[in-house]
């Protein structure tokens, strides 16, 4: 009865609801199918699946390039995020509170790497860093990933800091805290959710980066996506599915941890 009354009030609601269900079926189908295929027993992907096994998960550990590149990707994601935080957190704090008329222009400049086509940046970075003598190296990867990660840190930190009243810092300084103390005991705890959300984004983006990383590919600097790309160009066995499923599990786990500790309200905050 209540349902009927609601339907009479909003006849378009059920139609919209059905559309939304279909929409998410479209969004989730290709992801779910990969998870299912990961447990497939056969050497190839064919439906209906013949049997289930965990052999493709063993294959991840067996095939050296997967493991090696996973370590490279992990180091790269964390190192570039750390550098991006060291550069980006102070900058976004100053830009949010700064009254300079250049603040807006500088903020736009610092966020602009978000808008650039990554494949063009990758090619430009390769030539430039080679001219500097860095060439294909972990350091080159670190520099390029930092450029790309920086805007994500800045966006979330600025988003959180803008919502923080400056009263806290003023009170601290009136009560006698010096600047480092105010920063360490007042500002930093307040913006920590922004830093963590931004760092999570930056890590995920770095981990999934292919258009830049593949320009810097070598035995020592191949990242996981580069190895996966060259693997599926040659074979189509389900080990890529297993690897993807593990990767997604790690990402969801990281998201849940950050959400548990700091909340994710700020993650989708438009800035």
């Amino acid at each position: 009865m209540r349902l009927w009354r609601r339907f009479k009030r909003n006849p378009e609601a059920p139609m919209l609801g059905a559309f939304v269900v279909l929409f998410f079926a479209f969004m989730l189908a290709p992801i779910l199918i990969v998870v299912i295929v990961a447990f497939n027993d056969a050497n190839f992907v064919a439906f209906p699946l013949r049997g289930y096994s965990l052999r493709w998960f063993y294959r991840i550990v067996e095939y050296r390039p997967f493991l090696d590149s996973f370590v490279v990707s992990l180091e790269l994601a964390f190192a570039s995020t750390l550098v991006a935080c060291l550069l980006g957190v102070p900058a976004s704090l100053a830009l949010v509170r700064g009254r300079s008329r250049y603040a807006n222009a500088i903020a736009t400049f610092l966020l602009s790497p978000l808008a650039m086509p990554l494949i063009v940046l990758g090619l430009a970075f390769l030539f430039y860093l080679s001219a500097l003598g860095l060439g294909v190296s972990f350091l080159s990867l670190l520099i390029s990933h930092t450029v790309v990660g920086l805007p994500y840190i800045m966006r979330t930190v600025a988003g959180v800091y803008r919502g923080v009243s400056s009263d806290f810092e003023e009170t601290a300084s009136i009560l006698g805290a010096n600047r480092p103390q105010t920063f360490w005991y007042v500002t930093l705890p307040l913006i920590r959710p922004g830093i963590f959300a931004g760092a999570l984004f930056s890590i995920l983006i770095s981990f999934d980066n292919l258009p830049i990383s593949f320009f810097f590919g070598s035995a020592e600097t191949n990242t996981l996506p580069v190895v996966m790309l060259s693997y599926i160009e040659h074979q189509f066995d389900p080990s890529i599915a297993a690897l993807s499923a593990v990767q997604m599990l790690l990402a969801v786990f990281a998201l849940l941890v950050v959400e548990r500790i700091y909340g994710l309200k700020h993650m989708s905050a438009p800035t």
């Binding site: 909003n10 006849p11 919209l16 609801g17 559309f19 939304v20 969004m27 989730l28 290709p30 992801i31 199918i33 295929v37 992907v45 064919a46 439906f47 060291l86 550069l87 980006g88 900058a91 704090l93 100053a94 830009l95 509170r97 009254r99 300079s100 603040a103 736009t108 400049f109 610092l110 790497p113 808008a115 650039m116 086509p117 990554l118 494949i119 063009v120 940046l121 090619l123 430009a124 970075f125 030539f127 430039y128 860093l129 450029v147 920086l150 003023e170 995920l204 981990f207 999934d208 292919l210 258009p211 320009f215 996966m228 599926i232 993807s244 499923a245 990767q247 997604m248 969801v252 998201l255």
Partner: protein
Amino acid sequence: MTATVAAPAASAPARRRKAHSGALSIWWVLPAVLFLIVFYVFPIVQNGYRGFYPEFAGAGLEFNLRAYAKLLGDSFYLGVIVDTFWLSALVTLICLVLGYPVAYFLVRYSGRWSGVIIFLLIAPLLTSIIMRTYGWRVLLARRGLINNPLLDQLGLIDAPLRLVNTQGSAVVGLVHVLVPFMVLAVASVLQGIDTRLEESARILGANRWQTFLRVTLPLSLDGIGTGAIMVFMIANGSFVTLLLIGGDSFRTLPLLIYQQFNTTRDFGFAAAMGNLLLLSAVGCLYLQLRLIRRRGVKG
């Protein structure tokens, strides 16, 4: 008058604080700005040069327009440029048509489900681009989950449809990657619309459809604009999706740059194509800024 009086009257801590923030801005912003100038602006400028000095690596270093003449004079490459922008525009339009109702539902009807919907929108962003394209390849394969039921259970077709490596699969893959951005952009603007405006329209005699077309839709144009520019911009530069499930169906600038790097190795020409893409990105960025500024003035 008040200003001159106010300044000396400010308390000592207030003045000290002001001095603080002045010093703070420069030294806190400088490292990030310098880093981006050295490792982001310089590479792009160098890339700009390379387009005009196609034999950059070799001996003959002289300014010429050969790369651009090839890019803009040859009908094949003109077709590539048109294809790139046409594909992005098409993807943007589909994202809008699919995303708007979802954003509307999220803001107006989802209630306590809104958290779930936002999680489902963000969840695909947690999966690698390779995972998603792999999933589409499995679904669309010759004996995949779409062809098989059509062939065996329903018997609607005699031979498997060619679904992967077509223009359709390229568009589907790109829409799948980009539509969450559109939904989030439109939802954030819809959220800010005062529902009393819609109620007033209804009371004054407009029906639901008229209210939507005359009141809600115009008020959400900012969100549509922001989302559309963002989707168009990312679509322009995307190439992993096109490479893995688009095959050769669309030849776009990013794919050609990849090809130049891997096989042809004409780096001057690759740089020229890159510069064109950069130029379009800067154009989009400019439009986006104007939109934001306009909203700022209105709010």
